[in-house]
């Protein structure tokens, strides 16, 4: 009763005792309007300073389960290493990175679905990652559709930066034609003239086979036969036992567990003694060596990265990279493997994005074109960001050119035979971007 009386008294006092003048009413109204407007309409200072702490959303598609999970796990280590380092040093343009990881279960259909989720629901600003070439190929058009930069972390299929190139996609590491240009003269002049190629029968394996056929012939050698083996074949003996005839060398194009299988079974069938045994460095990746044991002894390969601290790789940047990577890899694998090229290329891909975002003053998707322009022709200098060495992202096809390492396996360890400078790996561009 008392409360009601008080309320009534107060309202009467407010409305009827002459204290609410017209002027005061206009004053109240203006104040309320200004308050409402400030809540509804973001002020310029809010856009400028509010975003300073808003993290960049960077998506990363990786195969963390299924057949390619082993490689996906190490690839993610590289991405996370770079993100942690960037965040510790103050982020990009003063903003931290929020990494959104999507596991595509080693399946292209899941990859496409997860890419769409990253782009539509998570609303990522940029993407870094991708591992299996068929998944990269399936997802590449989506990044163009949503106008988001896609910095590839691992996929090596040639067509990603040639016939199927996209203005939105960049590959900051090598590809098969460049590797073939770098390796073919060594194969033909030092190992043998005639070759048989055994390859993983899917996008990457096929495009790499084509590149080597072309370059071996160009170097004066010949490819007398090719054998495609489907991805994930457990018993390759039926395929390998069909390979016969007179040729000098067997060239393998496999990765992951297929690399282990071909290494073991080619040795078991006496093929690595009968022929020179060479191939893509992914067969003898550091993470494959324990399962290959002495059967990979003498293998000659090419790789963009080998985990050794010798020659041109004996630098403080590389040592720092290796030390950090070894600690992190130990956390996901008790055997404590050395970093492989998947760790290296994801690490450097994220750093390439960072440099592009800083150079372009990238704020979000609205600045995608500025970011693309900043990345086109980007020169990356050897250092903490790029411990593998200098590289340049070619404007015409968004393909990087980097130095290559020719190595063999001796006493279970990598031995660098030759370092091919990036200038000697050049291959003409074959890309026509669609109009954006």
């Amino acid at each position: 009763m008392t409360d009601d009386t008080k309320t009534q008294n107060w309202s009467e006092e407010f409305w009827y005792r002459g204290k609410l003048t017209r002027r005061r009413l206009i004053g109240y109204g203006t104040a309320a309007g200004a308050l409402g407007a400030s809540m509804l309409v973001p002020a310029p200072w809010q856009a400028a300073f509010g975003q300073a702490t808003k993290p960049y959303k960077i998506g990363t598609l990786q195969p963390l389960s299924g057949a390619a999970a082993a490689g996906g796990k190490t690839a993610l280590v590289g991405t996370q290493m770079a993100v942690d380092r960037i965040n510790k040093s103050g982020g990009i343009n003063g903003r931290p990175i929020e990494l959104i990881v999507a596991d595509y279960e080693s399946k292209p259909d899941v990859g496409r679905r997860k890419a769409e989720k990253l782009l539509v629901e998570d609303n990522i600003d940029v993407h870094e990652g991708g591992f299996l070439s068929n998944v990269c190929l399936a997802c590449e058009p989506l990044f163009g559709e949503y106008k988001v930069v896609n910095m590839i972390g691992v996929c090596l299929d040639t067509t990603l930066t040639t016939t199927k190139c996209s203005r939105y996609t960049f590959r900051p590491f090598d590809y098969a034609p460049a590797q073939a240009v770098a390796f073919a003269p060594y194969l033909v002049n030092k190992l043998g003239k005639t070759w048989h190629i055994a390859y993983a029968d899917y996008a990457w394996g096929q495009s790499t086979r084509d590149a080597y056929v072309q370059q071996i012939k160009k170097a004066g050698g010949d490819v007398v036969g090719t054998t495609g083996i489907p991805l994930g074949t457990a018993d390759m003996t039926p395929f390998l036992s069909k390979i016969s005839g007179n040729f000098d060398g067997l060239f393998g194009i496999f990765f992951g567990k297929d690399g282990v299988t071909v290494g073991n079974q080619a040795y078991d069938l006496g093929m690595t003694k009968k022929y020179k045994w060479a191939g893509d460095g992914a067969i003898a990746e550091s993470t494959n060596l324990p399962a290959l044991g002495n059967k990979i002894e003498g293998f000659v390969g090419i790789n963009r990265y080998v985990p050794v601290l010798e020659g041109v790789l004996n630098t403080p940047y590389h040592k720092k990279f290796m030390d950090d990577a070894v600690v992190r890899l130990k956390q996901i694998d008790p055997s404590g493997p050395l970093p492989d090229r998947y760790v290296q290329s994801n690490y450097e891909a994220m750093n390439a994005l960072k440099i592009g975002m800083e150079k372009s003053g990238f704020r979000g998707r609205e600045d995608t074109m500025k970011l693309i322009e900043a990345l086109e022709g980007l020169e990356m200098k050897e250092g903490d960001d790029f411990p593998q060495g200098d590289k340049v992202l070619r404007k015409e096809d968004h393909q990087a050119f980097i130095r290559e390492f020719l190595f063999d396996i001796k006493d279970g360890k990598f031995r660098i035979l030759e370092v091919v400078p990036k200038e000697k790996t050049m291959f003409p561009p074959d890309c026509k971007f669609a109009a954006t």
Binding site: K73, G232, T237, F239, S241, K257, L292, D333
Partner: protein, 297 residues
Amino acid sequence: MSTMLGLLQAIPYEALLIQTLNGIVTGMILALIASGLTLIFGIMDVVNFAHGELFMFGAYMGVVVISATGSFWLALVLATLIVALIGAALQITTLRPLLGRDPLTTILATFGISLVMQNYALWQFGPVARKIPEPFSGQFTLFYLEYPWYRVLIAVLSAAIIGGFYLFLKYGTYGIWIRATTQDRVMAEAMGIPVSWVHTAVFGIGAGMAAASGVLFGPLVGVNHAMGLDWVLKAFIVVVVGGMGNLGGSIVASIFISLLEAYASIWVSPAQAVIVSFVVLILTLLFRPTGLFATPK
């Protein structure tokens, strides 16, 4: 006559012999995997989607035992026993409560188990593939190839394990319990056979056989979390072709399909030769859905 002679001359005998050997070796590994799968289905009506992961677990157990003892043979025995026990525990905790329910529930349960086991292996052992060293190395010359003795040993050991299991089923008391339960579950229970424990034992034996094949096959490929995926589809095909639950049928179907694929790969790529097994599967389902080697009841 001359056409016949021409045809005979056109047969690549070298390739024929090499592919026969390949077919038998692959067939015996497949038979060892499939026999556990068909046994589990025959007695419990459970389609075990986790069978490939039991194969993979066996290989990992082999790695663990070898690194501790250095003995391949001890690894083969211990990995088989450990995974058999794991299999029995899985049956008791996960499948026993589901018996008698819609078969879809057991399919989903075993599929779930397979995902858990795969990811557990990845978490526990990491992404780096491991090695099981062969108990001995060495090759013999087979035309233009050096053929590894170890592959021949795999076939012989697989045959020995399957043979031993056959004798156990035929003459052992517990083997007779298993056969009785397979034939008529209700009558077996009425006769005093502890059917639920027979189910557990059979699941354990099936898991153990998968583990043994994992250890035997490990040296050829390197041990990784996904190695079971490569075999399980083929194992399902031979189980269907051989007759679901028909142990002898599955073994014959394993060798039959592997040989067919091996011979086909003389003329076409082995990748295309795989189609043969699917053709046999479709024909079996169309014309003899109980299995090519099933005995009519």
